[in-house]
Symmetry: C2
Subunit: 322 residues, 2 copies
């Protein structure tokens, strides 16, 4: 951990420690390649399948790092968070693994599949309205009542260090990557990616992919300061939240570029991933493939690592079936 | 190859030779495990993901073995087959890899996704009615016209030896399996499994899983001779074809038991696989999980290898979305 202008930020040592700490609880996820998608994009794509994590999303890395770095005394009071979905169920999973309580505040509009999983892991859900304002207000009440340790979905150094373990594995598994791309919502995965790659492989370009309809990170990046939307609407429900000061530090200092895709482009890339990779992935994880297909001049000829961030989809409602 | 009562049957040496021959063209597929499904079944399950093969199905193994063992002279006349789907597109893929023509006879009711893939691989499709009788009649015309080498979807020693490479990898990848289970249609995968395991691991039990509504292999197994249905109806469209003399040899001599599942049980197991394994799999591949869930007394406490045979699904028509 280091102090940068009053912010406690994780260092690469925290990533290495996190990887050791969480190893018994996470999967070293598989890398898939696909000849068809390589031909379509002109790039050589490597897909890191975080949808295969036990709770179906990369967020298990940060959540486990936070939960397993608590003292026994703090752990006894449990953990709490607010989240649009995957962080919630990942924190519930991590808390279950440690045998401690977990309280989560979720938007009432979150996919039912994600709510069911939180409950199956023994978590307690309190619902809020689908806006950042409501979410933070309801959460303050919950935390005051329980005294639980707050594990923010992304603006937490333990979480950022945990997410950084994904790119650590990635460069151990695939040689000579030219670029890594991941979706951006609050920026936890992108920040962890920046943290790890800036230390271990500083020549690797880092791209963030964002829905046009929730493009606050894109506009922040271009403006040079954080711009937050209160309640953006996009099918990529994991990507509606704004950057915060810790993730902004990494995004503004290390990201090569942020690229955006429309709702239809996201849906098309999601369906294409299901058809070709045979992977069940969320709309959020399709944004990187959508922007790669949209910007061949950026990626063609490169070895590109694509982080497939999660696979918790409501299978009864697929966006291409009306 | 050996002669048994006038039948040319493959031996394990043919499997080993096939594995070397097809290695450049197939994927050594990943094995997935899943804590939730283990808890549901009381077994320890290992899923071999043949849905990740380039053409999305295990049939690429047998097809590549047949195509790449042809002499240059025979190869120049091309290959031909009839198939309910995955063998067709696997043969088209194999022929494309060798640069030779491929003619396939497919039922007009075969999933559009499979027809599209055959065409994308450069294959030529001739349609027939969805019955064994019509399929064989139309095929005879096509073969007479082209002089192509007939690669039967399963009753071919080259194909059976190729499918046997899947279980060879399986026991290399997972130690101490107690049982292996795969779906049964014509019996090609099960025959290859019998061939390999009877040589390398004869203590491993071999289970075949079949839809109740296309249970001709089950009835054959119980009766002690082949019983064929002309046009069974099941959502597991890969499993409608009957056993033939070569696959009957392996099924009758080496299979431990054949278990069946209803259409609803198959659909439920398919959806469960998508939800928990995050894998896009066909209805046919869900039959093994369906029978494991239905017969816990057979599988509980065992290390069970489950062959996920393919993932070529029409994503616009999912059986649980009306």
């Amino acid at each position: 951990m280091k102090d940068v202008n009053g912010l406690d930020l994780p260092t690469y040592d925290d990533v290495a420690a996190a990887h050791e700490r969480i190893a018994p609880h996470i999967r070293r996820t598989e890398i898939l390649t696909n000849q068809f998608l390589d031909e379509q994009t002109g790039a050589t794509l490597f897909f890191k399948c975080e949808n295969l994590q036990p709770p179906g999303a990369f967020k298990v890395r940060g959540a486990c790092n936070a939960v397993f770095s608590l003292s026994d005394e703090a752990a006894a009071r449990g953990v709490a968070t607010h989240s649009s979905g995957n962080h919630a169920l990942s924190l519930a999973y991590a808390a279950m693994r440690r045998g401690i309580p977990c309280n989560v505040v979720m938007p009432r509009t979150a996919p039912q599949a994600k709510k069911d999983t939180v409950i199956a892991y023994g978590g307690t859900i309190t619902e809020c309205e689908p806006s950042t304002t409501s979410r933070e207000a309801v959460f303050a009440e919950v935390q005051a009542k329980t005294g639980a340790d707050f594990v923010h979905p992304y603006n937490d150094p333990r979480v950022i260090a945990g997410q950084g373990t994904c790119s650590k594995e990635f460069i151990e598994q695939v040689a000579d990557l030219d670029a890594v791309i991941a979706p951006i919502g609050g920026g936890g995965m992108i920040s962890g990616t920046c943290l790890t790659l800036s230390e271990l492989a500083p020549h690797v370009q880092i791209y963030a992919a964002e829905p046009e309809q929730a493009d606050d990170a894109y506009r922040s990046f271009k403006a040079g300061h954080i711009i937050a939307d209160d309640a953006p609407e996009t099918i990529a429900d994991g990507l509606k939240v704004p950057l915060k000061e810790r993730t902004w530090h990494f995004v503004s200092n290390y990201v090569t570029d942020i690229l955006t895709a429309s709702e239809q482009e996201i849906i098309d890339a999601m369906k294409l991933s299901w058809k070709r990779l045979k992977q069940v992935i969320e709309p959020s994880c399709a944004v990187p493939l959508a922007v790669i297909l949209k910007n061949p001049e950026v990626f063609a000829g490169k070895r590109v690592g694509v982080i497939i961030t999660g696979g918790n989809v409501d299978l009864d409602r697929l966006p291409w079936i009306k």
